[in-house]
């Protein structure tokens, strides 16, 4: 894909300049995320389509300035300066200049020019300037900057072919002359940029359409209603739009497994391995793909349309109290459906500290995999009485778990921002790009790439862990007796497996909350997915069913489990990071196993204390 000795060109621009759209148009799907150790923002690299010589574009995060005040700016600086060890030296710079936001882009140009690298400028949104009744003199701009300027017309991509041809001849690009004395003050750079804008832009027009939309979108009442409506649609669509696809994947992989295992009570080891280890593992990776695709599509739509900035403005105060920012809202809300797409969507948060804090608390939100566990235990142990004649106690407990998780997540985020991820609060700002119709091909490309990246990087880890979990349950292998029913055999196999032995070994650690080995086994099994707890209980307690609303299982639990222990299990599941897929994604998105381990351990500590506390309080009330 990317040839040896290829010429690397950095794509640089301010956020919302149309940089990524242009990059995607030039490279198509042939790209990968570059490995840049230690940071979470990673440059993506891709070969330019349709040119003979091998030119590779390096898509850097959008930045306002080269003086490093954020991680994005540091990464960009390192890549441009050739100190990013994972990337070869940059031979040229493609600066993406937004015609509707020239001042910012020219400010950046004045700094980039000092690097002394060959440069060309792609001038985006020129049609937008025309629509506003303004005129931009790109020929004058070209002579003022001393580099070639290529106007790109909107979503039709007119002008992209010329730019593509220019990319084939990087050696012929001009090196811009330095417009200002190096080391000049920021204020003077701004003054220089304004001077250029005044010369090339005939009429500095505000976008009237954006103004009119903002009258509603930022209105105290209508804006808030619109926000709730849009967030509701996003949350709902993670379920509704992806559910058919998820069900189909689930069904297909189950059918495949059933077909492979056949009618035999005990399948040969290699079939068991392939069916219940490998194929089940692949299935549990792919089942997340639809959710990721759908959420990324929607989030990218919000980002490219310009609404994301407005949503940030509306809720920033609320999240700002906890050291987060407005953009943390979508990752946290999405995590109520599933932490995997939620954590991935945290890439919309530009600040490193706020993004890390958001990612590290996202798994605390009540994801849908906790619901079967809650349903089972609340159904069995919380009396179904009405409180105040209005709401059932069971529903109230469930609601308290949902709200409580959110509140505690925010408090932890606040703590993280006070201790580990300090700073960056004062320089926070939201830029409001004009409203634009997103380019659908760009949305699909970005959603697809995120999904592909998840499958390749997090997916391999998930597959490996699920094979380990399979082995723990499958060994040592039990020889079936001829009289055994399949259900009896499965139960007996589970009871003497390494997983059960491990459960028995760690059970004493859970003595303060009186978890027996069946519960600790359920907790171990939950790493595959939290709802596995229900099927483990089903196999060990009632010996039949894994349906959380099953009355038989409920009764069996009521007879064999202390209610105080049941409440402690609920408290444990509220906090514990019991999901291998989330751990794999945490590693991918924070860039290190260390942070994944940190998240796992602090949530385990929370869960442990909460479970022990719940058990002892419950004992007081129940005895």
């Amino acid at each position: 894909m990317i040839k040896e000795g290829a010429v690397h060109v950095a794509v640089v621009g301010v956020p919302n300049s149309g940089k990524t759209t242009l990059y995607n148009a030039l490279t198509g799907l042939r790209k990968k995320v570059a490995n840049y150790p230690g940071v979470t923002v990673e440059p993506s690299i891709g070969a330019v389509r349709g040119v003979d010589s091998s030119v590779v574009l390096v898509d850097l995060p959008g930045i306002y300035s080269l003086s490093p005040k954020s991680v994005d700016e540091s990464v960009t600086r390192a890549v441009l300066g050739g100190t990013a060890s994972s990337l070869p030296p940059i031979k040229g710079i493609l600066l993406v200049l937004d015609a509707t936001n020239l001042e910012r882009g020219l400010f950046l140009f004045s700094q980039l020019a000092e690097l002394g690298k060959p440069m060309v400028v792609a001038l985006t949104m020129v049609d937008e300037i025309k629509r506003r009744g303004s005129i931009l003199d790109d020929i004058l701009l070209e002579s003022l900057l001393g580099v070639d300027v290529y106007p790109i017309v909107g979503t039709k991509g007119l002008g992209i072919e010329r730019l593509r041809n220019a990319l084939a001849t990087v050696t012929q690009w001009r090196v811009p002359s330095v417009p200002l004395v190096p080391g000049v003050s920021v204020a003077e750079r701004v003054a220089w940029a304004r001077g250029i804008v005044a010369q090339v832009l005939r009429k500095d027009a505000v976008d009237e359409r954006t103004e009119r939309i903002d009258q509603i979108a930022l209105h105290p009442i209508w804006g808030t209603l619109l926000f709730v409506l849009i967030m509701g649609i996003i949350f709902q669509s993670i379920f509704t739009w992806s559910a058919p696809m998820m069900d189909w994947i689930d069904y297909a992989f189950n059918q495949l497994r059933t077909w492979m295992v056949g009618d035999t009570l005990v399948p040969p080891l290699w079939i068991d391995f392939l069916a219940n280890g490998v194929i089940a593992g692949v299935g549990s990776v792919l089942v997340f793909a639809p959710q990721i695709f759908v959420l990324m599509l929607l989030v990218t739509f919000l980002e490219d349309s310009g609404y994301l900035a407005r949503a940030t403005f509306l809720v920033d105060r609320l999240l700002g109290i906890f050291g987060l920012q407005g953009r943390s809202f979508i990752p946290l809300l999405s995590s109520y459906a599933c932490a995997i797409p939620g954590i991935l969507s945290a890439r919309i948060i530009p600040s490193h500290a706020e993004r890390m804090a958001t990612i590290l608390v996202a798994p605390l939100m009540t994801c849908s995999a906790r619901l079967p566990v809650y349903t089972l235990l609340i159904g069995a142990f919380v009396p179904s009485v009405m409180v105040g004649g209005l709401i059932s106690l069971q529903a109230l407990v469930l609601a308290a778990l949902y709200v409580g998780a959110g509140v505690i997540g925010l408090v932890i985020a606040w703590l993280l921002r006070k201790t580990v991820f300090v700073g960056e609060q004062a320089t926070f700002f939201i830029e409001f790009p004009p409203y634009r119709m997103p380019y659908w091909r760009n949305l699909l490309t970005r959603a697809f790439l995120r999904m592909q990246d998840f499958i390749q990087t997090a997916g391999t880890v998930i597959l490996a862990i699920s094979i380990v979990l399979w082995a723990l349950g499958a060994f040592p292998r039990l020889q079936p007796q001829p009289t055994m029913e399949p259900q009896q055999y499965r139960r007996a196999q589970l009871e003497q497996s390494y997983a059960a032995q491990l459960g028995k070994v760690i059970a004493p650690l859970f003595a303060p909350m009186h978890f027996d080995w069946r519960i600790t086994l359920g907790i171990i099994g939950s790493f595959a997915a939290r709802e596995v707890f229900v099927s483990v209980m089903g196999q060990l307690v009632s010996g039949t069913d894994d349906d959380p609303s099953n009355a038989h299982l409920r009764q069996a639990l009521q007879q064999s489990m202390d209610p105080a222990v049941a409440f402690a299990v609920i408290a444990f599941y509220m906090f514990a990071l019991q999901c291998m897929s989330t751990i794999a994604v945490l590693r991918r998105e924070t860039g290190s196993w260390g942070w994944a381990a940190f998240a796992f351990l602090y949530m385990l500590a929370l869960a442990y204390v909460a479970a022990a506390g719940t058990y002892n309080i419950a004992r007081l009330f129940l005895s």
Partner: protein
Amino acid sequence: MVALNAVPVGQPFRVEKICGPESFVERMYELGLVPGTVATVLRHSLLGGTVQLRTGTTTFAIRLPAAAAIMVTPLREQPIPHSCQKSGEMTASSSS
């Protein structure tokens, strides 16, 4: 001279001085809030805490603690620097 957080909505103002750590001042300058720039307060967010500003054709929001560190002069009449013709027209039409 007043702090920016005390400037009412719709009021044009001229940036005089920004106080605080160098990185903060630099970031505010990069956003276009260099001394001498004329800008307008467009709105405050519903819950407060964030203030939306416009200079020239760019619109952005900063938090109130940041706004409190920016000293400005509220303007009755609009001087005519190039970047503020638009807000100048708005004040002129609303006052006439």
